[in-house]
Each structure stands twice: as C-alpha cells, then as structure tokens.
Symmetry: C2
Subunit: 311 residues, 2 copies
Amino acid sequence: MKELYFGVDIGGTTVKIGCFDNEGNMLHKYEIVTRKDEGGKFIIPDIISSVKEYTISTGESEDAIKGIGVGVPGPVIEDRIVLNCVNLGWGVIDVAKEVKALLDVEVKVGNDANMAALGEMFKGGGMGADNVVMITLGTGVGGGVIIDGKILNGKNGAAGEIGHMPVAYDEPDKCTCGKKGCLEQMASATGIVKQTKRILATTDKKSVLKGKEAFTAKDVFDAAHIGDEVAVMAVERLGFYLGTALAHVACTIDPEVFVIGGGVSKAGDILTDSVEKVYKEQAFNPSKGTKITLATLGNDAGMYGAVKLVL
Amino acid sequence: MKELYFGVDIGGTTVKIGCFDNEGNMLHKYEIVTRKDEGGKFIIPDIISSVKEYTISTGESEDAIKGIGVGVPGPVIEDRIVLNCVNLGWGVIDVAKEVKALLDVEVKVGNDANMAALGEMFKGGGMGADNVVMITLGTGVGGGVIIDGKILNGKNGAAGEIGHMPVAYDEPDKCTCGKKGCLEQMASATGIVKQTKRILATTDKKSVLKGKEAFTAKDVFDAAHIGDEVAVMAVERLGFYLGTALAHVACTIDPEVFVIGGGVSKAGDILTDSVEKVYKEQAFNPSKGTKITLATLGNDAGMYGAVKLVL
C-alpha cells in the first residue's frame, strides 16, 4: 500500500491541494474553490471530501492517507489553532481537531507565509539549508524565518515581518500598518510603482514611464532592463532598502540563505543583483557571503511547506 | 557531599570565576590574573588549579566539582572549540579537551557576549523569558540572541551582532568594521561622545559640555539629566538609532524582552526611556509592547551564563 501525504494551502479564492509521497515528492496537485459563506464552515469539509475522493480515484483506500498539513492566511498557534482568519470568515478555530473529526490522521497547521518559507527550504531556493529567511514581495512584503529547520513564530506571532522594518526615515506617507517608512512601502509591487512615480515627478530625465497614467512594478523592471534611467534609479532605490533590511536580518540571526519570492521576484536577476550589491556593502563582514537567491516553487511553495509539517 | 559548578569568564586582564550550586545560585566569586604570555598557554591550567584549590579550601574534595562553563572573548563552535582568540594569544583551541585533561568533569564553552546574554536570561533582566535579545553598550556594541533558551550563533557566528546594523545612512566616518553608519558608531560609549561633539560643533545652543577638551558618555547623560539641551539632543539621537535597531530585531525574531547592558547602561532610565519612545513608534504593532529592560548582573553576567551551560 502506498503512503500518501497532503499539503493544503488555503487561500481566499481557491484551496491548493498537493498529494505527496513520504519523501515529499509531489505526485499530483489540483485546486478547489474556497467556499467562504456561513463563516467559512464548508472549507474544511470540502478539503477532506476532496482529499478522500482523490485518494480513492488513484485506486488507494482512505487508509493510504497518513498526514495532512494545512497552511492558512492568518496567525496560528500550537501548530493547530487559527486565530481570526478574516479572509476566510473564520474566528478562532482548532483546524487540526476539525480535520481529525472527518479523517483521523496526523494534522498540522501553519501560517501561509511561513509555509511558503518552509516549502522553499524543503524543496526550493533554500534547499539543503536549515536556517533560511524568506522574503515575499507581492502586494505587501511578507517573510518567514526558519531556524534549525523550524519556523520561528516569535512572542507575538510577528517574527519574519520584515516588511515592517522601519528603513526609510524620510518617507512622508503611512504604511497600511500605520507607521511611516516600512520596507513594504519601498519594496512591495505597489511601493515600487509609488516610489518610481515620485522619482518621475522630481526629475527632468526622459523615461518610457513618463506620462503613463498607470504602470506596474513589472513595467519598471522592464524599463530598467532596457536602460531607462529613471527605472534604473527606482530599482536601485528598491535595492538599497531591501539590501539594507537583509543586512539588519543578518546582524540579528546570520542565516545561511535569503530566498526572495512573490510576484515581484519574477523580475529575476535584475532584482537580486541590485539587492546583493547593497547587501555586500552593508552586511557585517562574516555574513557578507550569505546567498541571496530566488524562490523556485512559485505558487506551490505553500503546499510543499504544509506537507513538510507532517512528514 | 555538595555539588559545585563553576562559571568562568575569561577576559583580557582578569579571569572571573564564580562557584555555584546546582540551581545556579552564586556561592562565591573571585578573580585571577589572565597570564597571556607564551600564547596564553597558562590560562587554562591557572583556572583549573584555582578551581581545585578553592574547592578544597571549602572543605570539599575535587569530586564535588560537577561542571565548568567557560566564556571566552572570541568565536566558539560546537560548545568547545575557540577560533582565534586574539585577546588571549590563542589560535584554534579545543578548550573543553584541555580542561578535561586537567579535571574530568562536564565542560562547555561559549562566546563571552553570548554568555552575558544567557546569564541575564538565567538570573538577570531577562529572567523568566526564553526568547531574549541582549544588547551590550560599551566601548563597542555587542549582542546576544537567545531563542527557546538557547544561544543562536548563526551560520558564520555573527548572530546578535546588532552593533553592526547599518542604521545611520548619512554617517561620513568608518566603523572599526570598515562599513559606515553602524549602530556601534551611534550607541557605543565612544560613539555617543563623538556624536555629541558633532552636535556641539554645529549648534549655537549653550551647553555645559561646550569647550570641554574631553568628556565621556557618562558626562553626556549627566548633562541631559539636568536638562542641557545639547546633551538631550545627543541622547535623543542615540535613542533614535537604538530604538530603530530594536524595531528591526523585533521584525525579524519578535523576542519577549530586550535587555540592555554594558557600561553605558548605567545611565539607567534616561537611556531606556529614550530608546523605548522610539521603539514604540517604530516597532510593528504586535511587538510594540515588548519589554526593554536594563541588565541587572553587571560584570557577573558572563559567569552566570557560563555556568548555565553546564547546569
């Protein structure tokens, strides 16, 4: 009989479900809709029915299912209890207990950003390392810290919140968190666009971005690729703040590797090069050689991390 | 028969030796000279003779000695091997092996800054917490990070090197490490004096420090105590950079408590107040309440931390 393990990544729109063997190789992945009505009470039953159905469709019995790891978009304690997951309509829920009531296997639960970090450590950009810091550059800037192979949650569940490091002392606007000058304001997709607009407003330099009503972080990187001076300045500004923030992290925990993921990380080398240049200048000597690498699992990272919890 | 444990803190001038019971209560402390001649080869034999002599002087036999923890001013790996301890004239030495050759008990070795952090967690300002960050403000700025009760060393032994966080973007001078703008340049005893002199040179404000050839960090705090405007500005500048650095640490590992020690910490509340004011503004919401407290063990912290290794 086969042994099957599932890594589940619950998002606000869809639930990503991965089926893995006992070494964490992905055998199959699929998605189901996240039914958020009635306080999200269908989400867990939907997942479990689907996992059972899938298993039976492969010719195995339910007994083949040995463990389920679940990532959720909210704070998690004790590897099982979710605290107020607004996105899903959940209050405080013991997810492990609810899953076990439907299918009696090992169940562990974690925060989705942390699961992505764990996934990248397990099978992605941080593979082979035990001490990994993941930075996710998307609409916001998230992060996850792994020490000795384990997610660090912190006293208040705020470990790895690198996006809220106060790095830009002269930023006049407020971050979504209420402070001013957070890394997120400089390095998120929306932050990059905003900072580029600021540069455009204060420079006489020509730019392909000038006069455009709306453009994206991708447009900024594309323009920088072809040598657009303003876009290059914008990427350098991003590199300054992100490289400096990574130096702060290194002075605190001195990890083996930094993994950069999220939508913005699709920019690739132009992003890591600009970050690495500043990092090497700003990091304390012993940590200057620490690798800065791109995430490789994309949207699958959360499933890999979740299944790692139960392997 | 009593059980005795020793915590040893090797410094460049003296070795501090503490004798403890099995619960970590200090029974006695004393110092011996650090003999650095001939590559420091007498240091360990001197310590062991002294520990044996002391034990016998209390009416116990050598068998009462159950463990020795040793703190050294240099990088340590595997709880026993010291890598190039310039201050003592040591190259790479397996301290645990050398001690055991003279006295066959449990021996563990750690870096002195980390031992101070561990000591403060064990019996000082961080007592009762498992996740502690210690910042030592002296001639330089050192630190130690404790996660789940254990010292975090980091990939390159540089975890807790908070003094080299690049926080002062416009600092024109170089730090001893070769970079510019390290926290150490703003918050060490020498840094505080230097920054105060800069303010004096650029302000018309009266100050009791004006015209003085030489003054100390203590003089700056004393002047700030009596409302000297320039000194108050200097303390606020220190508070800005140190408070911001602690916010960076909190965004990374979200500890339970920050403990501030070292000579500069004798300034007391005026120091912690200025740091805490900035920290509360700059820290991410969930971590804003994290305690910032003064070290309480003074020069004994290293002995408490060292003995904790073997208890």
